[in-house]
Symmetry: D2
């Protein structure tokens, strides 16, 4: 494949909200400063290699519908390299400087693990060259779900051979991420879960998962990789029930096994809604637990029970997501602060300091009589929010 992969597509520019050009930024102006920070630093867009270059448009009832002209129908090493060149042309034309990848999406499986690793090395070396000085991975990860060996899980497989294989794969993918200057390494446990509890020893599987992650932490330190390790919660799909169900479940796991200081979370909006929460809730739960590491700001369909992984085009939802990132003073913050002002008192301060026992409180309750309870002003808060869009 010679020449450009996307001929006729120039670098995408900021053209402002009135532009009718679909291939332009209407609001995102990378260098513009907002609250003392450039927009590109508030919103660190990263190109996901698998969605962009390996997504085929297939679904459980349909075969591939997306056919790039440079694909030759094989999963050869040569094809992998060609795709990687397309990837960097895409990244540059988009004007971003971050990308992310799974090991098996960028390089093909071979007969043995040794040869597979060699494939990965070759593609990673090319990527390193193409990255230049400005581009690097937001994160790398290993694909521990597509190959049939992972049908019952990777770290939580009932087969010890699979556990070992997964460990070897993560080891290598972590090395590659480190070599490419990646900022984070992600664990998405798509197959770490069960189809039915009737055939599953959930406790033993969770113990295995903890051992696996401990070994990952140890290896990270050994090779001097300073990036953050991220867990990406998802409630289900492909399994009936995944172990990293949501932010709180993942936090509990990390606390139970003493891993809370070694990991953060990668919150994906569509995973949030599948688990019965709003994306905003999951982001806030991660933040409150000191675990907000990264955001996959996609969207799903509220009437559909699987991950549609769509672009987040709804401006209300997108703004809601940014609320957990940008903390800014304004009429909404003000409304919230005022709601709790009765705790900004002597007794409130005692309560918050853990110095108000039930007897003291009972005395107060009797002294005060029936408390007055004002409105929480939900509609007003919604109106302030929508007016700001």
């Amino acid at each position: 494949w010679e020449g450009e992969f996307f001929p006729g597509i120039p670098t995408i520019k900021y053209e402002g909200p009135t532009s009718k050009n679909p291939l332009s930024f209407k609001w995102y102006n990378a260098q513009e400063e907002i609250l003392g920070k450039k927009m590109k630093d508030w919103m660190r867009f990263s190109v996901a290699f698998w969605h962009t270059f390996r997504g085929s448009g297939a679904d459980p009832f349909g075969s591939a519908t997306k056919n790039w002209p440079w694909e030759d129908g094989t999963n050869s090493l040569a094809m992998a390299k060609r795709r990687m060149r397309a990837n960097f042309e895409f990244i540059k034309k988009l004007g971003v400087d971050l990308w992310c990848f799974h090991d098996r999406d960028i390089a093909p499986d071979a007969e043995t693990l040794e040869e597979t690793n060699k494939n990965l090395d070759e593609v990673v070396a090319l990527a390193k060259k193409l990255q230049g000085t400005k581009i690097h991975p937001l994160w790398g990860t290993s694909q521990l779900f597509l190959h049939p060996r992972y049908m019952h899980g990777a770290a939580t497989s009932s087969e010890v051979g699979v556990y070992a294989y997964a460990a070897a794969q993560v080891k290598k993918a972590m090395e590659a991420t480190h070599y490419l200057g990646g900022e984070n390494y992600v664990f998405w446990g798509g197959r770490e879960g069960y189809q039915t509890l009737l055939n599953t020893d959930m406790e033993r599987e969770l113990d295995h998962m903890a051992r696996f992650l401990e070994a990952a932490v140890a290896y990270k330190k050994k090779i001097g990789f300073n990036g953050t390790l991220l867990i990406e919660p998802k409630p289900q799909e492909p399994t009936k029930h995944q172990y990293d169900w949501d932010a709180a479940t993942s936090a509990n796991f990390l606390r139970k096994y003493g891993l809370i200081d070694e990991f953060k979370l990668n919150i994906e909006c569509n995973h949030a809604t599948l688990s019965g929460h709003s994306c905003h809730h999951e982001l806030e739960t991660a933040r409150i637990n000191g675990l907000l590491g990264n955001i996959d700001a996609n969207t799903g369909d509220p009437q559909v029970g699987w991950d549609t992984d769509q672009f987040l085009t709804d401006i209300s939802e997108a703004t809601m997501v940014m609320l957990s990132v940008v903390r800014n003073d304004g009429s909404l913050t003000d409304l919230v602060r005022k709601r709790y002002q009765s705790f900004d008192t002597e007794i409130g301060t005692k309560i918050e300091a853990g110095k108000a026992d039930f007897e003291m409180l009972e005395k107060k309750a009797m002294e005060w009589g029936e408390p007055k309870v004002p409105s929480a002003k939900q509609e007003l808060a919604e109106m302030i929010f929508q007016s700001a869009l």
Copy 2:
């Protein structure tokens, strides 16, 4: 009200599976021994005062449909005492020896907290007398949701006066539970949650909830109450999102605030399914985290998005619930044990002991080549389970 409340209804007896009498036990034979324990000790049925005597059959679109002949339309102290007598006639005719209650369901609110407490004292004294030597509460709790003062929560209300009132109420209810010989004290945070995050400081509210529970623990110890404190998770309803969403969320909260050793969980099946899990999953999650305290083995409707709190009549579901209680050897346990046998090896043992690092595992993975992955035998497990019903 003189005489019997349920005239013509005798004590309910075990009559065996062929009985056509709807008011008989078909399978439950209290004194029969199963696996070395009496059925009454495996299944500790407890009469819930509120469902049985305060449930009116109303719903959000309909007024009361259930009218006991002894009710006079008031919520007077005399009425409360009459109801308590009905309660004990019911318990005795059912042949069980446990009951449970909310403070405000057994005794009426009055103008002031002092008078309300006096009302409670009178009813509790009567209950104590009626209990005799055989009957006692499985648990007591306080109703921190019905009164309008709790519209924004109790321990997580934005109003400090409400926090104090709730503390005083729990203090009193805990004393009553202790006095009646209760085995547990339950916290169901029906209003501890939010309607919208736009007007909510979730972090501050969770801190308040932790302070409240710490004070409850301190008070429990102070009065020498040795019962277990239980948290009852529920994802939502009445609030849009409750803080004790599910077992894992509750466990994370308890761990974060250092309360994990002071509480256990009260798992309700219908709450489990509303949170997107099976009841079996929630029970196992509680068990694995060392938090399985009590079970509310009700059922809901799989197509309905609210708590219907129905009797668990489905025998498959009921058996599934007992799986987390009764650990017994059999063909299912056997099937599960065999699935994981590759970890009952030298390398498996090392992994489970945290002594297998990524380099050792990589070496093994290369040595072993592609792992063999057998079927997980889901259909066989389901067949074994259904055959046992």
Copy 3:
């Protein structure tokens, strides 16, 4: 109660999008013309008496939290009249000219149906006077769900006495609606459904419902009421499964019983989402079936399984609703028209006229070879839509 009900609240005015006054219209400017029609005629806002004056803020776990100062705690006729005066002050201050009501919400139940009817007559006479010449009901309806007699349904109750009572109630409410100049009469079958099919003869119940609606049509004609009869679909709540599940289910019912020309639908957005559809889908389904009669443009919470009946504050959703009302040429319409242009051909026209049989089509398919299938441009459509907000 003397004087104003809402003292200090002036008539609500249009103040434009930059106004910070929460009690002002930011976008709605009643007299402004859009596409040749005044905004007030595009958006015919109507005050719902029950939400505004009878909604108590109670929920299944909490008692009333909303206490109007003019309420005296009774459901007396005097109270009903006072409320009606508050209603018209509210309507006038809001600057709208439509309202809607349930019979039992505006006037109290009495001991007998005759006296209840007399109560209704008195309140209706007052409302007629207060309406003046500018205000009238968008619709009236009867409350066939709150009273315990309707616990198993009204037209579909298993009790013939309830069926008769409901008929009498609808007869009277229809007369009242007619007298007040109402434009529509609504049937919301909140209790027409079942809790379990095990105790239900669904076929017989549906036959009864059809008989009931036939009788309503006959009576409407007899009294010369020219308003539209509307069915308001809802999937469930209060029942486990309602008969008017969604627009398509209601349409099927109307077709089966030959009632399709006598009714239209009142689509409520929150009911739509509870039935698994978007509001836009339900509106389009109603429109395509010639049944779009009225819109209850509320909203719900996507993570909650019951009707929260909130104000529709989200601007994307609100715009989507208006798409079924306002048909306007623009880039989106254009995109859709172009998608189907291959049917604007000779063979396409034959297909659409029902003149293309399988043999003719097979010949074409063989002649044409593999068809080319272009992208459906979903993201572009979403971008056009969001840009227009």
Copy 4:
């Protein structure tokens, strides 16, 4: 491939409920008579070719895990014939006499439609031979979803060329089904629906679907195929919203376009639950509308939002399904009949005959006073049902 496909697996026999052999029938005894009919005639089990022989165990995140030894990795004609022989060995060893198929699952796609049809002819000829005199298809159908040409639908594609291609494919598949002695022909509109209404002309698409089905009816009659045409409702997946959402939606469509007498429904339990109904509800809805044609008695997972298409192993659910097939007198039927007995009266009969107008009913309502409303005995009905398992 020589010899047996399933060596060592004998014909499956009835061995009774106590058998521990997983490859035996525990309750199904084909020749045993129940209520005057053989079990094989009550439960007409049919082998689905695609699940059994083309299901690969892949899912959206995983590649194939099920590898039959006779598969050579190709989709050649020779492979198709080999599979067909495996199919009939399987059917015979199972002891059933029905099977069902998609055109493209039994024979491979070729370059042109003509050649593809030739492939189908060859495989169908072999199947005809292998069927012998005892075996025949319960139904045939065409696969109008897997090939990328159907990405926007088949009969409802925006491309006329796709419509024509689909017509040609159904024509051929209907001929094959007729030739093999099939009893039914099924339409499952997996791609007949939309991803977003923003780019969709739903009305025009539904018109096209009706035209397509009209042409199918005409062709069926032309070739003398007397089998039943079946529509299989499914709410979504692969599309965001399918047109044949559920039984009532399909019935409305058939009524609207005058096709109600030409089609029946094929109810699939997992599709039922995805649409928010119980399977029992969908079966009853089909039955009441005179549309109960066939049952796909599978099951799904109540906590999962996609079609898992599992074997129905739960005995309560399985029995519930049979309730719509077997109408038998018993205590449950009796309970239901008694509930409605107030309609078995003079006035009830008038109502059911459409001879009771609102005035007559009002008179009755006033004469009778407040109706008495007995319990619906839900728990008793559930107890009767569970006791019968």
